[in-house]
Amino acid sequence: MHELVSVEAVTRKFPLDHNYVSALSNASLHVAPGEFLAIAGPSGSGKSTLLNLIGCIDKPTSGRILIDGVDTSTLNSTRLTALRREKIGFVFQTFNLIPVFTAAENVEFPLLVQGISSSERRTRVAAALESVGLSARANHRPDLLSGGERQRVAVARAIVHRPALVLADEPTANLDTRNATQLIDLMHDLNRRLGLTFIFSTHDQRLLEHTDRIVRLTDGQVVSDTLTSEIPATAFPFAQPQMQGASHGQVSALSL
C-alpha cells in the first residue's frame, strides 16, 4: 500500500550539558494518505519532536523518514524547503499567525510563497476561509480574533495550498474544551471531505475519541498504535456528545 509518511527506526538525541538525551528512540510509524491520526502522550514524550521530524524542520540522529516515497535525508536545505512548501501544512499550538496581516492575508501567505497568481490566491483564500467558517472575519487582524478563530485561521492557512499532509502540534492546547472539540471536528471534517491527511499531537485524552487512529508515545518510544474503532467506548473516560458548534467548519461545497 502507498504510504504518505514512513518513519523508520528514527532516533533523535539532543545535547544537554555534556551528555545527550533521547527525545525519540527507535520510533517507527507509517501513515497512509487520508488518515486522521493523533499522536498522544504526556509532556516530554516526544510528540513534538516526531512531528518536527515528519515536517522536515528537524533532522533525525539516526533512522530515516520518507514523505510520499522521498527519503528526506537525501534532500538538501533548498529541496526540503520546497517539500515543506508544497506538501506540508502546519498548525501550531500558539497559532503563530503573522500579527500585522489580516486573517485573509495570513491564509494567503503560503500561496504567495508558492508564486500563485493574485486572482487564484483570492479564490483559494476565500474558499479556505469559508471551509473553516471565517469568511466574515477575513479582514480582521489576529488580535481581533478569539483563540478558536485564530486557530481556525491557522487551519485554513495550513490547507489553502492543498498539501498532502497537515501537521498540527498540540493545536488545542491553548483552547477551551468547546473550541478544542470544534477544532478537531473541523479538521476531521476537512480530512473526510478533502481527503487531507492529518497528523496532530495532543495530550488531551478527551479529544482522542474524535480521531481515527491513536499512536501513543512514552519516553520517546511508540508504545501503542491503535485504530480508534477498535478501542471500546469505555476507554474514553471523558467522552461527551459532539458539540453543535462543530458544524462551523462543515461547509457544503469545498472547492479548495
Binding site: N52, I57, R85, I88, V100, F101, F109
Partner: protein, 409 residues
C-alpha cells in the same frame, strides 16, 4: 512582491515607540548633515561670489606664454592687441564686461622709508561696470576721469608702515618692459582692507594708463571677464575658446575656479570636515540600528520560524528584513529632510552672526542653503547605512533552526 512590501511596511510600524526612536535618530542624522552641509554650501557660495566680485571675475584671458615661461621683463608675456580681444569677447552672450589688468611689482617710498609692493593696474570704468569695488577702509576709489595727480589705492598695512593716509604722496619705482628703472609720483586716495593681512601689507592699485606710463608698455597682463551669472561660466568659456583661437596672438582662457586657490583650499578643507561628519553619522546610524534591528529580529524569532516552516525561502527572510530596514531608512530620511529644511528656515530667519571665517576679518551670518543634492546624498547615506545594519540580523534570521525558532518564547 506587493504583499511582501506591505508586510515589510506593516512590520516597520509594529513597535511604534521603537520605530519613532529610530526615525528620530536617523532623521536627526540627516537633519544634522543638511544643516552643516547647507551652512557649508552657503559659505562656499558666499566665498565664491566674493572671490569673483572682489576682482577675480568669472573668466580671465592670458597669453599662452604667461603660463609657459618666466618673464624676463614686466609685460614680456602680456597681451598686445587687448582692445581688439576685449571688443571681441564683449560681444558674446552673458558677458557683462571686460576689464584689462596689469600685474606688476616694485618699490614704493615716502622719502624716508621704502617697501615692496604688489601692484595691479585697472581701468576704473571697466571695474565699476563689473561691480569690482575695492574694500575701502578710508578715502575713496580711483577716479573714473583722473586729472592731474596719478591716483593710488594702498593696503592698510602699507599705509601703516609708510605712515601715509589719503591725500599723502608716494613714489613708485618699477622696472620697465625694456629693463630700465622708472619712477612716478602718486597720490594716495584710499586705503583698502582686503581681509587678508598679507595682502594688505603689499597692496597697491593704480589706473591702467598710469601703470603703462610707469612700465613703458601698451600691453596688459590679462583681461578679466565678468558674466551675468556664475552658473554660465562653463557655457561662455566653451563659446569663447574657439573665438580666441582665431586671433593673431595665442591666448588662453582660465575659469575662476582655476585661479581661486584660496577658495579651493577652503572648499577642500570644509569638504573633508563634512565627509568626516558624514562618516560619523553613517557609523552612528549603523551601530545603533544593528542593535535595534537585532532586537526586532529576536522578538520575531517564532514568526520567522513559522515562515520558514511554511517553506519560505531563507533568501526571502533576508530580503524581508533588509527591505524593512531600508524602508525605515527611507522614512527616517524623509523625517530628516523635512526637519533639516524647517530648521534651516528658522535659522535663516534668526539672523545668527558668526565670527569671521579663517583668513578673513569680516563676520558672517549663519545662513543655511537648501541644497537638493545634499538632501538626496544624506538620504542615500542613511538608507544605505540602515540596509547595511540589517545584514547581520537578516543573516541570523535566515539561518535560524526552524524547530528551535518555533520553540522560542
Amino acid at each position: 512582491m506587493g504583499k511582501f512590501l506591505l508586510l515589510a511596511f506593516r512590520n516597520v510600524f509594529r513597535n511604534r515607540r521603537r520605530t519613532i526612536m529610530t526615525l528620530i535618530m536617523v532623521g536627526g542624522g540627516v537633519t544634522g548633515l543638511l544643516l552643516v552641509g547647507g551652512f557649508f554650501a552657503r559659505m562656499f557660495w558666499g566665498l565664491r561670489e566674493s572671490t569673483i566680485n572682489d576682482g577675480l571675475g568669472h573668466l580671465q584671458i592670458f597669453t599662452a606664454e604667461h603660463f609657459n615661461r618666466e618673464e624676463k621683463h614686466v609685460l614680456d608675456t602680456g597681451i598686445d592687441n587687448w582692445r581688439q580681444v576685449a571688443a571681441s569677447v564683449s560681444t558674446g552672450g552673458h558677458v557683462r564686461g571686460v576689464a584689462p589688468r596689469i600685474e606688476f611689482n616694485g618699490m614704493l617710498s615716502n622719502g624716508v622709508k621704502s617697501s615692496v609692493f604688489m601692484g595691479s593696474a585697472v581701468d576704473p570704468v571697466a571695474e565699476r561696470t563689473l561691480g569690482f569695488t575695492a574694500r575701502l577702509a578710508s578715502g575713496r576709489d580711483l577716479d573714473i576721469k583722473p586729472s592731474g595727480e596719478i591716483e593710488a589705492l594702498i593696503g592698510a598695512g602699507v599705509a601703516r608702515s609708510m605712515s601715509v593716509k589719503p591725500g599723502d604722496g608716494l613714489t613708485l619705482l618699477a622696472v620697465t618692459s625694456d629693463g630700465a628703472l622708472n619712477g612716478i609720483d602718486v597720490q594716495v586716495v584710499g586705503v583698502v582692507k582686503t581681509g587678508f593681512k598679507e595682502m594688505d601689507d603689499r597692496y597697491l592699485r593704480i589706473t591702467l594708463p598710469s601703470a603703462q606710463r610707469l612700465l613703458q608698455s601698451d600691453r596688459v597682463t590679462n583681461l578679466v571677464v565678468g558674466l551675468d551669472n556664475t552658473d554660465n561660466t562653463d557655457l561662455v568659456a566653451a563659446q569663447l575658446v574657439p573665438r580666441l583661437q582665431g586671433l593673431p596672438q595665442q591666448l588662453t582662457l582660465k575659469k575662476w575656479i582655476d585661479l581661486a586657490a584660496y577658495y579651493n583650499q577652503v572648499r577642500s578643507l570644509f569638504t573633508t570636515i563634512f565627509v568626516f561628519l558624514g562618516i560619523i553619522v553613517f557609523f552612528m546610524v549603523l551601530m545603533s540600528s544593528i542593535n535595534t534591528l537585532l532586537m526586532a529580529m529576536f522578538e520575531r524569532t517564532r514568526e520567522i520560524g513559522t515562515m520558514l516552516a511554511m517553506g519560505t525561502p531563507r533568501s526571502w527572510i533576508m530580503a524581508l528584513l533588509v527591505l524593512e530596514a531600508t524602508l525605515l531608512g527611507f522614512l527616517g530620511a524623509i523625517v530628516g529632510v523635512i526637519g533639516g529644511n524647517l530648521l534651516g528656515v528658522i535659522i535663516n530667519h534668526a539672523g545668527i552672526r558668526l565670527p569671521p571665517p579663517p583668513g578673513t576679518n569680516v563676520p558672517m551670518n549663519f545662513h543655511v542653503m537648501h541644497v537638493p543634492s545634499l538632501m538626496v546624498g544624506s538620504s542615500i547615506l542613511v538608507i544605505v547605512s540602515l540596509a547595511l545594519a540589517s545584514i547581520l540580523p537578516a543573516i541570523r534570521a535566515s539561518r535560524l533552526q526552524i524547530a528551535e525558532a518555533l520553540a522560542h518564547v
